[in-house]
Symmetry: C2
Subunit: 424 residues, 2 copies
């Protein structure tokens, strides 16, 4: 069975009208998806997307169209090979390598191929991945540039050591779900009263952790964090997120000023490219944890963040790196270095897809839930055929076959940019 | 005076037909340019481009079109502000930040704006930059994420200390030019006899340094390097270039095996994202120098390569980072850390433009020629209005007003992809 057709879409939601999603670097995002449908010869479909925040989504769509010829006619049974075809074309590689627009587009295509494969297998993606042998999982990874930190043989050993308890842990997740935290309370554009109300509602709903955006104004941040801490009490974790706003010295000073309200982690304190900067910040702000990942370009940068002891929390993103395959590499690296993975979600569709990685991580890779939590934002789920469901502060186990990447046809029509009804 | 029109082009040269430019990672490049013309209200033009190697050039053109609205109607007198508009749009920034396709396109636009400004000033770009005060130069830089390594105040001091000898050094360059090295002898696809002949011709032509591509087969590399060393003798420097082919352990083993033929530097031994990997390689292969830069995404990664002591040679690229402004930052960082800048050239048009950076560096930044040399490949210069000229192994000083970025109209027509005559 091979890939017979690739169709791309530019989908945008006019979220900037409400200030949902506002932070110190992204004041007015229009959550968007460069979206792709793969059709196999027998008519079965796989859906995938990469997440953007508006302008430039058309460039990602152009990148999807540029990559489509690489996978047309290719078999669906070796998704390691398919992934490497998308990231190692000798001419296209010049445009990255493995970063930026071309890598975002590769993510959409890789994820669509996995959605197709999981649907054909009749399994949710996390269960499909959890059914693969350690050797099959190791073969999904592009090991180039990783072997100074983790070899394929060491990764296989790590997976083997987690293999015998896979069924027990899968059963646990089906019964109890996976811990979530919510960012919905803390967007930068919200007034204090709204933050207080939403923080209270989050705790009442069962969340053990919330997140606030910081970085625009220190006095505002201190006041908001103090308010939130007063509302939730000392037993609830509050993460803070600066969205790359600071230079290294600013990050240290600002985080230190917030420390008395016991923030659980400082997220994206500086440039996502700055491994050494994160390491310097982490040394200075201990015991506040350092987290990053949603803008980390690829597995090579994650490797270094771990080698340098630069982060406490690995925030993989489903669509920034090249989809399922590269995220398997990142899960393996995190497990090898003993760091928890807490995926970036929010946006549009990210909650739907990243939960598959965390479920797979617990079942087959790290085998641990310690300090692991998936971001949740209650936003735009209605557009998806298999939406994320959070109950009592926990993600329920996805049960539908596929990767939960598929949008409803009526949403694809309404939010098509610029011709859809939402934009006219 | 403001920017009144932005016109983009997809230009490709069918270089893969001859194996010119072949290396271990790029076996069959079609040297290409996503090219842009800015028109001011009075009809004066600035030309700029980003270099690619073929497929995907249309995605860079789409990125140019996506960025064009950011600069239409903007004034030409503050190119620091123009550059920041191109790299800090809150929605577009998501697609990088500051890397990959969007950053390549920003480079083309920034460079076109400088070409326009230099033409209007009646000066070659290097002379225009060398006429700016330290404060004006410092204001061109985006200091975000740099201040842990270099502050604006320290950069100003550095520029001030080089200011009083500017005229003397400019006169020197006009008389004597700037040292070049040639890569034309060593493409991976060439047979031994051709390498020997070209190496001999390079020395006869006055080059003091040549470069060979390595990384596909160790036995071949040892034989080719031995041949080249025998031809040129011990007094000529031979750099070797692996084009990112290796993991860290391979890079160390391979470079060690080549060391007895006294390579001057090993270039791109591994992933351009791998700061810590380059640092490990450099420690292991000393006294062979480590060089990288043509694929380094932005100033933040260059900053870390310098902070970590990961490289001996800074190979800036005119079009990978965001053009003139970001390269001013990289020249300042390199000078602050005492490392020579030896720009990446070859490709199409890169020799024409990078020489302006090296000339400016000597006149106004580092003030030094020690171990500094500009890459030269004798290829595709005939398509440019103000082609690079190398005589006796030295680049002559560019004299025409502008940034030497402008292609001849007949070349733009013939190599337009896919409609130009070269492709039909």
């Amino acid at each position: 069975m091979t890939i017979a057709a690739v169709t791309s879409y530019d989908i945008r939601f006019p979220t900037s009208r409400e200030l949902d999603g506002s932070d110190a670097m992204n004041p007015d995002p229009d959550y968007s998806a460069a979206y792709v449908v793969l059709r196999a010869e027998d008519g079965s479909e796989g859906h995938g997307f990469t997440f953007t925040i508006g302008r430039g989504n058309e460039v990602c769509r152009a990148a999807l169209d540029a990559l489509a010829p690489m996978i047309l006619g290719q078999p669906l049974d070796d998704l390691g090979e398919l992934y490497r075809r998308l990231t190692h074309d000798s001419q296209i590689r010049w445009l990255g390598p493995e970063k930026g627009v071309m890598h975002l587009a590769a993510a959409a295509l890789v994820n669509a191929a996995w959605d197709l494969r999981a649907k054909r297998a009749g399994l949710p993606l996390w269960a499909l991945l959890s059914s693969l042998s350690p050797d099959e999982l190791v073969d999904l990874v592009d090991w180039r540039y990783l072997t100074d930190a983790l070899t394929p043989a060491a990764a296989r050993d790590l997976l083997l050591s987690a293999a015998d308890q896979r069924e027990t842990r899968a059963s646990f997740l089906k019964r109890h779900g996976y811990p979530a935290y919510t960012t919905s309370a803390g967007w930068l554009g919200y007034p204090d009263e709204k933050i207080e109300r939403l923080a209270r509602e989050a705790v009442d709903a069962g969340f053990q952790m919330i997140k606030l955006k910081v970085g625009a104004d220190l006095a505002d941040d201190v006041r908001r964090l103090a308010l939130a801490r007063a509302v939730v009490g000392p037993g609830i974790r509050i993460a803070v997120d600066a969205n790359q706003r600071w230079d290294v010295p600013d990050a240290i000073a600002w985080t230190t000023a917030l420390a008395k309200y016991d923030p659980w982690w400082i997220e994206e304190p500086t440039s996502p490219d700055d491994v050494l900067g994160h390491a310097a910040i982490r040394r200075a702000v201990h015991p506040v944890r350092v987290a990053t990942g949603e803008h980390v370009a690829n597995r090579v940068v994650f490797k270094q963040l771990l080698q340098a002891g630069a982060i406490d929390v690995v925030q993989l993103d489903a669509c920034r790196v090249a989809g399922v395959n590269e995220n398997v590499a990142i899960l393996l690296l995190a497990a090898a270095y003993g760091k928890p993975v807490c995926p970036h979600a929010g946006g549009v569709g990210l909650c739907e897809v990243v939960r598959h990685f965390s479920f797979f991580d617990f079942v087959a890779v790290s085998g641990s839930l310690d300090d692991r939590v998936i971001e949740y934002v209650d936003h735009l789920h209605e557009h998806f055929v298999d939406p994320a469901t959070v109950v009592g502060g926990r993600y329920l186990a996805p049960a539908a076959p596929g990767f939960s990447t598929q949008m409803r046809p009526e949403s694809l029509a309404r939010y098509a940019y610029p011709e859809g009804r939402a934009w006219s």
